[in-house]
Symmetry: D2
Subunit: 350 residues, 4 copies
Amino acid sequence: MFFSSDNAGPAAPEVLAALAEANEGYAPPYGADDLMTEVRDRLRQIFEAPEAAVYLVGTGTAANSLALACLNPPWATIYCHSHAHVEADECAAPEFFTGGAKLTLIDGPDGKLLPDPLHARLAATMEGFVHSVQRGTITISNLTESGAAYTPAEVAALGAVAREFGVALHMDGARFANAIVGTNASPADMTWRAGVDALSFGGTKNGLMGVEAVLLFDPAKAWEFELRRKRAAHLFSKHRYLSAQMAAYLRDDLWKRLAGQANAAARRLAEGIEAIEGAHLLHPVGGNQVFAAWPRGGHRRAQEAGAYYYLWPMTETMEGPDEEPVSARLVCNWATEAAAVERFLELIRE
Amino acid sequence: MFFSSDNAGPAAPEVLAALAEANEGYAPPYGADDLMTEVRDRLRQIFEAPEAAVYLVGTGTAANSLALACLNPPWATIYCHSHAHVEADECAAPEFFTGGAKLTLIDGPDGKLLPDPLHARLAATMEGFVHSVQRGTITISNLTESGAAYTPAEVAALGAVAREFGVALHMDGARFANAIVGTNASPADMTWRAGVDALSFGGTKNGLMGVEAVLLFDPAKAWEFELRRKRAAHLFSKHRYLSAQMAAYLRDDLWKRLAGQANAAARRLAEGIEAIEGAHLLHPVGGNQVFAAWPRGGHRRAQEAGAYYYLWPMTETMEGPDEEPVSARLVCNWATEAAAVERFLELIRE
Amino acid sequence: MFFSSDNAGPAAPEVLAALAEANEGYAPPYGADDLMTEVRDRLRQIFEAPEAAVYLVGTGTAANSLALACLNPPWATIYCHSHAHVEADECAAPEFFTGGAKLTLIDGPDGKLLPDPLHARLAATMEGFVHSVQRGTITISNLTESGAAYTPAEVAALGAVAREFGVALHMDGARFANAIVGTNASPADMTWRAGVDALSFGGTKNGLMGVEAVLLFDPAKAWEFELRRKRAAHLFSKHRYLSAQMAAYLRDDLWKRLAGQANAAARRLAEGIEAIEGAHLLHPVGGNQVFAAWPRGGHRRAQEAGAYYYLWPMTETMEGPDEEPVSARLVCNWATEAAAVERFLELIRE
Amino acid sequence: MFFSSDNAGPAAPEVLAALAEANEGYAPPYGADDLMTEVRDRLRQIFEAPEAAVYLVGTGTAANSLALACLNPPWATIYCHSHAHVEADECAAPEFFTGGAKLTLIDGPDGKLLPDPLHARLAATMEGFVHSVQRGTITISNLTESGAAYTPAEVAALGAVAREFGVALHMDGARFANAIVGTNASPADMTWRAGVDALSFGGTKNGLMGVEAVLLFDPAKAWEFELRRKRAAHLFSKHRYLSAQMAAYLRDDLWKRLAGQANAAARRLAEGIEAIEGAHLLHPVGGNQVFAAWPRGGHRRAQEAGAYYYLWPMTETMEGPDEEPVSARLVCNWATEAAAVERFLELIRE
């Protein structure tokens, strides 16, 4: 019963097979491998974006930070949700990669930015006033850090704000596959058609070992991205092993199948929890993450039985009466077993 | 006949097997996996350094840059060979990671720094003069970028200079295994006993897919390293897949066996070339790299037969008379086949 | 009637005289001038801090940024008030100078940080959690950006929080003289005795042309400060002209006399406004700044008569009914004339 | 007898008078003062560059670093002379301001870059090769650090190289006035007509207290410059005191008159030294600096009589036989008195 994070789970067998297959003989290094050509072509096809620049890196933080550094000069501020990964979980990586840009934090329900408060913050930024940071890039996470999924229409509403103010829109898609499966939206509708300029397209949390793609829908910054990636030490010499993982991920829509498995497990968890007396969901379940509260007694039984997950926020505590609801985060991944879900639900429902 | 680079070759089968084995079930992310404990213990044992801090990253540039950023404040200059990888092949990554430190370039035979010119440059640096950058870290590559191996005594002579001036000594060991096998030195003698404070311990060029270790022999900067690694986006969530590769590399001295195979192939190449009329080695062959010149006609035949390698320096040209010697770099790896070496030698010897 | 800012006013005649006097013959550059010795000695005496490191720079942003860069590594967050100058008015200079640190914003009345919310934010910072920025420097402004003055006891309460968490405390004293005069506190009580580690000691807003001092009460970082100042281009070659201004400022407590004049003008303004029907102060007047609201009709008359000042916040508007109160900021300086104050009060009171 | 540096001398009386005059009443801060308008207009007129963006800063290092940061991305290398101020005397300020660009050092006689070696280095830079830094800005000093003056034709030859490779050309004109007077060239011919994109126009070494102008002949980067200046803390609030100095400097060609006085003193020094047996000039005297060698006995007598100047390079020593020539740098300024020059010559000639 492992619900602590989707990055604690294993890689898909197709990925291991692809690595083995890619391991024959010699291959040009640094992204000149044939598999990268396949990856690029396939991602352009999936996103209906034949001009998009496509790159691979090893971590989600690298994908986000390099994209933001290309889009946002150091004197402009990045607009993000107060709980965004770029703000809370990257130890100021965006500040490092951009050369000292600021992040402006905006609250919103379920980890989402809403158009009106975003518009207000952009309007309040004193563009043209040299003492203030200038308007910069908007970045959103889909899935959000609260497990919700933006719809294309919701993204488009933010994209309209970006266009109105002439700034870029970046999407942290560490769980993009889960969002696509959860909303049944097309990748193009969810991104560039909605005004997204750059996407961090996650793989690691959804069955890869450690590969993320970056898509720049406008390739004007492609060469800058390559130079920034190199000098940030994120250009892999034996690049074929990144390409192989991503190629396997894209073939036959494996990425969607894996996300579908994770989402289904999360949905079952959510349904099971909602049926428990004294329990409730904290956010809508847009993909593979469930944020919910249920009585402390249920937590106690689950933890004693060896379930792994985080109380959430981390200020929650196991000290207190059994009947009091305690909040937690449960994350499923492609390998989450139905039996584990059922066993967990049994434990927390008593 | 692939002699272009050791990063174009495949990973060792033991590494793939280790990845498959590591792929079972759940593992704590971000370096808390059990395999990392094995790696740390084993490297401390190999280096006879029970206190050393040990970390894994995905690229050699990350290993070098993070180590240098911990050792070198932005107002100090890094001393390196004019051809060092940190100067020539990292697109100013050390400058980025340190926040704008300078590199001071020093020439030396076979890619080596020699104690006297190094001493002179440190003495000439105007320590205490606020207008000048201050004395900073010395970094050397072993193997050097010209394929030579430092002996422990040679390193110790540089370590003595570092101690005299109170600065740190870093070793870029992207091909450390080749140097150890080539010199038959102990890892401890080659590093901390000779005054090395931090080592980039390469794996990628010697049979891994993309893993390098960093050893800080004095662990005082360990936590700073972790924070710098995180904010530079080099902390992998599914860290077990880095650990698994490195663990396999260290088990049963696989790292030495692989380097031994690469070195043997290079030695055979070097011997064969030396026996050719009009050919000569440009540098001593300390490991798996051969820098040599032979008549252009031999190059022509090799290239027509499909051999891959770089003329070196890149200003060399295939235009000119057949008998004129032309310089090149040949790099072997663990998988270089004896037959390919013999075939190549036949071609260039006519 | 100029109440727009204290940096729009002239320099004191004593300062000009000192410049003229300093302009004789030759003087060692870069801070080795005799006048700098006088400045250093005098500031150490004023602050009862014989070990303090003392430096001069040309702008308040330089003073703040250099001090913060010495105290705060890039992976730690700086705690400040949401309206702090370092956050709102320096175009991300702290982010630039620190190499990409984050600022954590905390609200509080009258521009002040209060111990409890500050404690809560430090407690909530996930020290030791590598994904999060770490606990860093607390910086407060005295006077605050809302014109209030911290008392030594209030500062000491924040200093206690800093000590509890082992972080540094910096004071932006762009209007330190006004705060000292306003509270009648001793400089030592207001700073190091209350736990302040570094002070930006302002001069420009209080009668100098462009000189600020930085005091590091613990001189351990003195040399680092000098190197950072140099590489940030803030070390002046003809340093005597900075020294001369600051020396004049400190002689015979000119700094207090000038601040006293500015504070008295502000007090008179505040008293006059409070007596107006429909008017009120927005913050206590701790020094030379008055934040107040009064009926729009009064603004109209003042502006038509040529008064200079800012509506505050800048979202306030002159469009609307005359009787509606509109907020503004009025800043006095040493040269503000009593007659201008009285004339202004007449205008706004009708 | 002060020949140590032109930044040890006093400011011109016209400058002090201008400060006093500017000190009346209120003035808009941050460069919106009327005097700045005069400065901008006058510099555009002097340079026949009606579109040029014009800014003031307090130090030469700020002028250089801000200009370079606007022209040179962090992944491009700056080409400069091995002895350039930006390399040797700014504690890696260009590296700091650019976010970690590299400097490529090129030798040349008398501190000058020559077109052929410059062309060769640009040609050798591996543009388009992601592992290498890319081609960046060329920066030259006029006067050079060896006291020579570039002619417009010499600059134009370098400008042609810049254009051929599509990179920018910056001129560090800390002693631009001396070069203009020394060559009798027009400012336009010396700069933009010769291909210079940005100029640091020095004032401090030539009679100001601490003001330098930056001219961007193409104003496309003007707003970026303003933002970089602000976040580097080089935007002065009481800007009128910078403007006043520069305005006085430009009125009635004071800048040329002051430089003329300094150059004349240097010429007399040079002529006097050349007439001494065993003495010789090390570089042509293009302006106000004399680099020369004469017998140690002469140095001894001068130093005993209280003359201030530097042996040059600093490795020169006063230990040794009297007749041996020892090198030195002598710098004159606008206030250097003819009597001091004659007295000095007497001393060193015996």
